[in-house]
């Protein structure tokens, strides 16, 4: 189980980082979200993996998982939402002001020569 979770965390982080390094704002926001998932799971894992032991006090039960990482992750989820919302709106505003959804606000390479923006279509290489 531990190995599985470690691999899942690593995969989410790898996907997140790769998308974070892409050139389009929307993709970057998606990357941020994936990275947030990875980090939240990672933080939760810091309290170790416990099955059927929620930190809700009950009479007659003595085994509880660590509540501290959960409190931190709960905060992180909400802040992550605020960050995602702000980032996507920033992207919208940048698109309006700069006429491009490229993260640098200007087209680079071949797309720039063809006029940039949404006119720039895939050139064969899918994905």
């Amino acid at each position: 189980m531990e190995a599985l979770i470690a691999v899942v965390i690593g995969l989410l982080a790898a996907c997140g980082v790769y998308l974070l390094l892409r050139a389009r704002t929307f993709t970057v926001v998606l990357g941020l979200m994936l990275l947030s998932y990875a980090v939240n799971l990672f933080l939760l894992a810091m309290g170790r993996l416990a099955l059927h032991r929620p930190p809700i006090l009950e009479a007659g039960r003595s085994a509880y998982t660590d509540p501290v990482p959960q409190a931190l992750v709960l905060t992180a989820i909400v802040i992550g939402f605020a960050m995602t919302a702000f980032a996507i709106v920033l992207a919208l505003r940048a698109r309006r002001d700069l006429g491009s959804d490229h993260v640098d606000g200007r087209e680079t390479g071949a797309c720039a020569e063809s006029g940039g923006g949404s006119e720039c279509r895939p050139d064969g290489s899918s994905s």
Binding site: I5, V68, R121
Partner: protein, 894 residues
């Protein structure tokens, strides 16, 4: 003021002559660093104090007449006096670090004084060059002095000077010596750092006379003399100090001959004489040291007077070019005589002070040749240096005062300067003569006491007489005179050779180096600061990888905690999650698909939270997931539906590599932690105190609203700020939608029938659910955050189910006010606990029984949670409504 300090100095002189050293004053400044304000006056310091204040007084008088009406005399005086204070500090300091502080102050004063005529480019460049070289040397000196203090264990000079053997036998001695010498050589313009001094001649002439010949450049040789007892006496000292001094002596003397600028000639002559003094200290014999100290005095006197004379000529003729300034003897005979006497002292003519120290130097050269196996090398080199010294002195005299008529002078005809401008020169020249004729009665005692404090022991026997009989040094002097005059006569041929074959000088090399460094810095900056976010992120992640990777170095990757078995359901869920995440990356071009896949990833993360005993997280993640998906869907209206593939596969490979390494690192870290037993101290504390102190069984919720309430307050504030920021960003305008509202909702602009009918009952039910989640939050999974998100979802559904505009009017809740009210409620709750004498955000609770929900505690934390609830509802609604509202055209017009 200068006169006053000179007057204060004089009563102390007898004590120096009697006992050798006086402790002047001492205060602690930063004793932990070994930095104390201690001052000490000994023979060497006395000699320098006399030079500094005496020549300073004359320079101040001279400057009064030198500057024109337009120049700011006050500024010059302020800087000169500041320099004088710093220089006195250098020579009087008994603490090495204090000495360094004053040393740097002199460099700064020099910078400001060279750049006095800041409107001239050469002054600015010269000042910058001088500061770069001397301050760079100052850094080396700092390192050297710190090492020295480390070796000795004290920064007090009185201790350091008696610890010579300890210093010389220490393994760090070579490094210490080289660093200190770097400071000395840069300050005293020794080869190859000499080139700043000629450029510093852009300063007003009083400054050149004072700083750049008599005092500041002597600070280097002063330090050499000061640390002579601690550092000298090794072969390394002989090679470095003697070798550099010799090179500088020859180079300076040779180059001085080819300068056409009067001050340039004097500058190179100064370099040469400083080289001579350095060489004398480098020879490491007591007699050579005496000669070195003696030459410090003599050079200061005759060179200051020569600079002043050069300044007078410049002042009266408007030019310093020796190819134009000729035949001035007819126009200013008195100045001419004074300058000629001083120049003769520079050349070493008998009956003048320069002759005596030069004879001592020649004598030492002969003596040194007798000791080693270098044969006649030393006497020959000394004689050659003497020849060039004579040659440039003759040039100074002949070119300026004779050699035909002046050519194209700005001021014609030149005449004698004002009376008091000449007085300082007269005094200095008189000193040249006095010292030269009756040395034993004038300079003798001062020289003896100064040299004694350098040698730190009995002085060798020497005689300060003009006539020592016919001996080798006299023959060398005679040879130097004949050779020097011959060189001058042959000058045209030499000049032609020099102009043709002279290599690049230090200034040009320095400028090249500077340009190269600036260009390099520009390239590095351009490489790092490309303005590309992708580039920055790649750098950031790369650096994080390196820093994180270092932590793995040599560590144990795996602990010994037992592994839990894997059940098939978890494995299947993880596989699906992994597939969805991978597809998100692979299908990144199709944005709607990606968004759906991402939602799937989120839902499986929710399942993971459920599986691993985190019900609160699962509820929160679930609701946030829904809200985020709606948000991104709304945003997609304004963005292209398809992504654009990037040019170049190289970058994809690079990013893929970075991503794999980041993921691998995080996985390895997680694995390392998960296989080790946990630290449970914090968990145990919260589990034990949650019910008795916080009044709640849901420990996560209690932590959030009670134990860590302050954090939650900050977090809620961040939410509110994000909402306001989004409103502000969108108020400034948004892009034209890719998909117009009317097209998205169909021609009739109506939501599906089922949704329209079901919306109202759903609203009521969801609000009830929200209330339930809210109230149970303290005991069971739930709470303000989740209840807020559920409420917001219920409200948003109303907007999309019915006509958006009508909903806007009907549900005209002031969401901004709601956010503000929530923040205020939290603050008030926190402050209320203050009224009862508790600290901020302390909670209190009591039990209440409500039908349906059952027995529950009503805690003041509940008010806090209500604040959180209001903020969440307000924030989410603000964001979604701002993004979701239709554009200005009437709905359904398309």
């Amino acid at each position: 003021m200068t006169a006053a300090s000179l007057a204060l100095l004089l009563p102390l002189a007898p004590a120096i002559f009697a006992s050798g050293a006086v402790q002047l004053a001492g205060w602690h400044w930063l004793p932990d660093l070994g930095l104390n304000l201690t001052f000490r006056l000994d023979g060497l310091a006395l000699l320098f104090c006399l030079l500094i204040t005496g020549i300073g007084l004359l320079v101040i008088l001279y400057a009064r007449y030198y500057l024109s009406e337009r120049d700011d005399l006050c500024r010059l005086y302020a800087l000169l006096l500041a320099f004088m204070g710093a220089m006195l500090g250098v020579v009087l300091s008994d603490n090495l670090l204090l000495l360094l502080v004053f040393w740097e102050l002199t460099s700064l004063c020099s910078f400001l004084l060279v750049g006095y005529w800041g409107q001239r480019a050469d002054a600015r460049q010269g000042a910058r060059l001088a500061l770069t070289i001397t301050a760079g040397g100052g850094l080396a000196l700092l390192a050297g002095l710190l090492l020295l203090g480390h070796i000795v264990g004290s920064f007090e000079l009185s201790t350091v000077l008696t610890a010579g053997d300890q210093v010389r036998s220490h393994p760090l001695y070579p490094a210490t010596l080289v660093l200190i010498l770097l400071g000395v050589f840069t300050k005293s313009a020794q080869f190859p750092f000499h080139f700043w001094l000629p450029q510093a001649m852009a300063a007003p002439t009083p400054v050149s006379a004072y700083l750049h010949s008599a005092t500041m450049v002597k600070a280097g040789v002063f330090l050499l003399a000061r640390l002579y007892p601690a550092l000298s006496g090794t072969d390394l000292w002989l090679i470095l100090v003697g070798g550099i001094g010799l090179l500088t002596l020859l180079f300076g003397a040779f180059t001085a001959l080819f300068q056409h600028d009067l001050k340039g000639l004097l500058a190179y002559s100064t370099i040469s004489h400083l080289g001579l003094i350095t060489l004398l200290f480098g020879l490491e014999t007591p007699l050579a040291t005496v000669a070195g100290v003696f030459h410090i005095i003599n050079h200061a006197v005759f060179k200051a007077s020569l600079f002043m004379a050069a300044g007078i000529i410049d002042h009266e003729t408007g030019s310093r070019d020796m190819r134009k300034v000729n035949g001035l003897f007819r126009y200013m005979p008195q100045t001419a005589v004074l300058a000629m006497v001083a120049a003769s002292a520079m050349a070493g003519v008998p009956l003048l002070n320069g002759f005596l120290s030069k004879e001592m130097f020649f004598g030492e050269a002969v003596h040194f040749a007798g000791m080693g196996d270098t044969g006649l090398l030393w006497p020959v080199i000394a004689t050659i240096a003497g020849m060039f010294s004579v040659a440039y002195s003759v040039r100074f005299i002949h070119d300026v005062f004779f050699n035909g008529e002046p050519i194209d002078l700005p001021h014609m005809p030149p005449h004698e300067p004002p009376r008091y401008m000449r007085v300082p020169v007269e005094i200095l020249v008189a000193l040249c003569l006095l010292v030269g004729i009756v040395p034993a009665y004038t300079v003798g005692p001062l020289l003896a006491v100064a040299a004694a404090s350098v040698v730190m022991g009995p002085l060798p026997s020497y005689s300060l007489a003009i006539w020592h009989g016919f001996n080798l040094p006299l023959l060398m002097s005679a040879l130097a005179f004949v050779g020097g005059i011959l060189i001058y006569i042959q000058r045209r041929w030499l000049f032609w050779l020099y102009d043709r074959y002279a290599g690049p000088n230090g200034k040009i090399l320095f400028d090249h180096g500077l340009r190269w460094v600036i260009a390099l810095a520009g390239r590095v900056t351009a490489g790092l600061e490309s303005g590309s976010l992708q580039h920055y992120l790649a750098l950031l992640i790369g650096v994080a990888l390196v820093a994180g990777g270092l932590g793995f170095w040599g560590g144990v990757w795996q602990g010994d905690r037992p592994i839990q078995p894997l059940d098939p359901l978890s494995g299947l869920a993880a596989l699906t999650l992994a597939l969805a995440a991978a597809l998100t990356v692979l299908r990144q071009g199709q944005r709607l698909t990606t968004l759906t896949l991402l939602g799937m990833v989120g839902l499986f993360v929710v399942l993971a939270f459920v599986r691993f005993s985190a019900p609160d997280l699962a509820l929160t993640q679930l609701t946030v997931e829904v809200v985020t998906t709606i948000l991104l869907l709304l945003a997609l209206r304004y963005l292209p539906a398809h992504g654009t593939p990037e040019v170049g596969t190289g970058r994809r490979w690079r990013d893929g590599g970075l991503a794999l390494m980041a993921g691998g690192g995080l996985a390895a870290l997680a694995w390392g932690v998960l296989t080790r037993p946990p630290q449970t101290a914090l968990a145990d504390y919260f589990l034990a105190t949650s019910l008795p102190e916080g009044g709640g069984a849901n420990v996560v919720n209690v932590i959030l609203v009670d134990f860590r309430g302050f954090d939650t307050l900050g977090e809620a504030t961040v939410l509110a700020i994000a909402a306001l920021g989004i409103v502000a960003l969108l108020a400034g305008g948004r892009p034209a939608p890719e998909t117009p509202w009317s097209a998205a909702t169909g021609a009739d602009a109506q939501a599906p029938l089922l949704l329209r009918i079901g919306a109202r009952p759903i609203l009521a039910l969801t609000l009830l659910l929200a209330a339930y989640i809210f109230f149970r939050g303290h005991q069971l999974p739930g709470g303000g955050f989740i209840a807020g998100l559920v409420t917001a979802l219920a409200l948003v559904t109303q907007y999309f189910a019915s006509d958006f505009r009508r909903a806007m009017q009907q549900l005209a809740l002031g969401y901004r006010r709601m956010v503000a009210a929530g923040l205020a409620l939290i603050a008030v709750t926190g402050a209320a606990s203050g009224i009862f004498g508790h600290s901020f955000l302390t909670s209190t609770f009591t039990h209440v029984h409500l039908p349906l929900i059952g027995d529950f505690e009503i805690a003041s934390a509940m008010a806090f949670d209500l604040g959180v609830y209001l903020i969440v509802v307000g924030t989410v609604m603000l964001i979604l409504l701002e993004l979701g509202q239709p554009e200005a055209e009437p709905v359904g017009s398309g």
